[in-house]
């Protein structure tokens, strides 16, 4: 009798614990962290519910959701439909943004430095090693480029930003595709490895002659010098919301199961070549349904009210028709009871 009452009490405690509003837990990509943090802050003020998001990198986010230690995982490298099915995961895009090349050269202002995809690939392949290389001079006739070693900085951890960056380099440079490949961690031909988007931003900021790639918000927050890029149409574009949007407008989200879609190297005169979407991973049959529903409410709120906040940080909110598709998928695929 005594044992039984203890067990009942314990069971009661567990249900109460689950029902009370614990923070929503998620982990993964560092690329969308600035906007997730902003949304979480506003969401807490609006509803009283908090979000605990650890920006540990896309690779780690996928690993955490597979280990079921978090309610949702976040990744910029979308999982293929067959990978999703294997683990019973649902995947949907949350927000889009741009990856920019950032440099550290005295006297060069943001946007002044121009570069195209194949040249960027050659820098990371170690074929172009000096800032006054003829190829860079040809792209930048107006700049007085110094006789200084280029320090290429890349991610040392598994990263969706790296995935999108290497995907783009693979699209524009056959050499890159063959020698290095496309993945969240690759065998870098040279350069310096740093952890996280913030780590790359920091290393570029403190290293003379450095070049790196980060999500645009990190370039802005750290006041780094971004490069302008030549896109697929051969036009020079600056990383702006319009340029990201132009690239995103090409996306056909209905084409692939699990919203699998990569936005790099899109056609269009105004398209920013290194645009990317970032994704959320959740279980179709969650262990803790209440927590899963809490997370879905947060995402729904973010889709509805987070658009302006996203635009303020130069992220692109998902278009309404895509949000509808995502919400239909939630209703169909993710168990909410």
């Amino acid at each position: 009798m005594f044992m039984k009452s203890i067990i009942t009490a314990a069971a009661l405690a567990v249900t109460v614990g689950a029902a009370s509003a614990a923070d929503i837990s998620g982990a993964g990509a560092t690329f969308p962290f600035p906007i997730y943090a902003k949304w979480a802050d506003a969401y807490k003020k609006d509803t009283g519910n908090g979000l605990n998001y650890q920006s540990i990198g896309s690779g780690a986010g996928i690993k955490q959701i597979r280990a079921k230690t978090v309610t949702f995982g976040a990744t910029d490298a979308p999982l293929k439909p067959e990978e999703l099915d294997k683990d019973g995961l649902a995947q949907f895009p949350m927000v889009m943004g741009g990856i920019v090349a950032v440099i550290n050269l005295d006297g060069v202002k943001p946007g002044d430095f121009h570069i195209d995809g194949p040249t960027l690939a050659d820098i990371y392949l170690g074929k172009i090693t000096k800032w006054n290389d003829p190829k860079l001079k040809a792209l930048n006739p107006k700049l007085n480029l110094p006789d200084l070693a280029i320090v290429p900085i890349h991610r040392a951890d598994g990263s969706g930003t790296t995935f999108n960056f290497t995907y783009y380099l693979g699209e524009v440079s056959p050499d890159w595709k063959e020698k290095v490949g496309v993945a969240t961690t690759v065998d870098w031909p040279g350069g310096i490895g740093a952890k996280g988007n913030d780590g790359v931003a920091n290393n570029v900021a403190t290293t003379k002659g450095a070049i790196g790639y980060v999500e645009y918000a990190y370039a802005k927050q750290n006041k780094l010098t971004h490069a302008s890029m030549l896109n697929k149409a051969g036009k020079t574009v600056e990383p702006t919301l319009e340029a990201f949007q132009a690239a995103a407008a090409n996306a056909d989200w209905t084409k692939n199961a699990g919203f699998y879609q990569i936005l790099a190297n899109q056609p269009g005169e105004k398209s920013w070549p290194m645009t990317a979407a970032t994704f959320i991973l959740m279980y179709k049959k969650p262990v803790n349904v209440a927590a899963s529903n809490d997370a879905l409410s947060f995402f729904k709120w973010s889709y509805e009210k987070g658009g302006q906040m996203a635009a303020d940080l130069d992220y692109i909110p998902m278009p309404d028709n895509v949000v509808k598709l995502v919400e239909t998928m939630w209703a169909k695929d993710i168990a909410q009871k």
Binding site: I56, G57, S58, G59, A60, G61, I62, K63, T129, A149, I150, V151, A156, D157, G158, G181, V182, A183, T184, T185, V186, D187, W188, P189, G190, G191, I192, G193, A194, K195, N203, T206, T207, K208
Partner: protein, 313 residues
């Protein structure tokens, strides 16, 4: 009767105490074996896939599932070697100065300062290394080395390449600074144990300070000094964060010590969190196992050295 009972109780409590201490000691062995076995089991898929070649291959390509430990082993050994080459002579020099030559009122403050240095967390050295030391390396020290030593035939290849600031040499220098207090603190303590009468006798027959240190102090304390050096080497081999910050994390072996590299622990720290299960994770665990073996070999070598010294003495 009472006496017998009391004695029996004492005997019982004594054997109880014995069992308790024995159990504590055994836990260490069990833990050690557990760590070794679980690392080896985790590493087994990588060893099976790549065989002995894992130790000698410098490949590290997660997308192609090709892994090898050579780059990380090389970086670990070279950074530790650089650190030891600098820290051992300097550390011993400091402790000789402190125990033999230093003005008495200054001994304590300098000694305390060194112990404080030993207590600084390694992440602080890492931050200092990347924000303050690395730019100095990039702008002054590395260009100087490339321009001077880099042109000398024979050793020039060690000092070539672009000056990035990050690299094996930078990591080795930061490590040297980190382990310096260990060597100094331990050797100062053992130098203090030398009986003054021995030193006074040596001075009395006209020996110089250098001769006293070389012929009396060092021979008398060499067991302790070697112990301190090995402790420092152990820390250098396993140091993670400070090295990760400044070594450049490049998974390639390059002949120049100015070039970027990686170490076993830096590799694990950077990649373990997001390694896919399977060969990637297994290869990282295999690196961990190798570090375990390297540390074991270093300790065993130290023991052997000490044993052979004691036989001679």
């Amino acid at each position: 009767m009472d006496r017998a009972r009391a004695l029996g109780r004492l005997k019982f409590s004594d054997s109880g105490f014995r069992v308790m201490t024995l159990a504590s000691a055994l836990i260490v062995l069990v833990l050690l074996a557990g760590v070794a076995i679980s690392l080896f089991l985790g590493a087994w898929p990588a060893f099976r896939e790549f065989g002995v070649g894992f130790l000698f291959s410098d490949a590290w390509s997660p997308p192609r599932e090709k892994f090898g430990a050579a780059t990380a082993i090389y970086g670990t050994l070279v950074t530790s070697l650089i650190a030891m080459l600098i820290a051992v002579p300097v550390g011993l020099g400091i402790s000789v100065f402190l125990t033999e030559l230093c003005w008495l009122p200054l001994r304590r403050p300098i000694g305390v300062a060194i112990e404080l240095l030993a207590g600084i967390p390694s992440i602080i050295y890492g931050i200092w290394g990347v924000y303050y030391f690395r730019p100095v390396m990039q702008s002054y020290i590395q260009p100087f080395l490339i321009g001077t030593l880099g042109n000398i035939p024979g050793i020039g290849f060690l000092f070539q390449g672009p000056p990035f600031g990050y690299g094996v040499l930078t990591a080795g220098l930061v490590l040297a600074l980190m382990i310096l207090p260990f060597i100094t603190a331990v050797s100062r303590d053992v130098f203090d144990t030398v009986p003054p009468v021995l030193k006074e006798a040596a001075y009395g027959v006209g020996a110089t300070t250098f001769e006293v240190v070389g012929n009396i102090v060092i021979p008398y304390t060499r067991v302790g000094v070697i112990g301190g050096v090995m402790l420092a080497l152990g820390r250098a081999l396993g140091e993670t964060m400070a090295v990760t910050f400044v070594i450049g994390n490049a998974t390639k072996i390059q002949s120049s010590i100015l070039a970027q590299g990686t170490t076993i622990s830096a590799m694990i720290a950077n990649q373990f969190a997001d390694a896919d299960p399977g060969l990637f994770t297994s290869s990282l665990l295999a690196l961990g196992f190798i570090l375990f073996v390297i540390t074991f070999i270093v300790l065993a070598a130290a023991r052997w050295l000490l044993a052979s010294l004691e036989v001679k003495a």
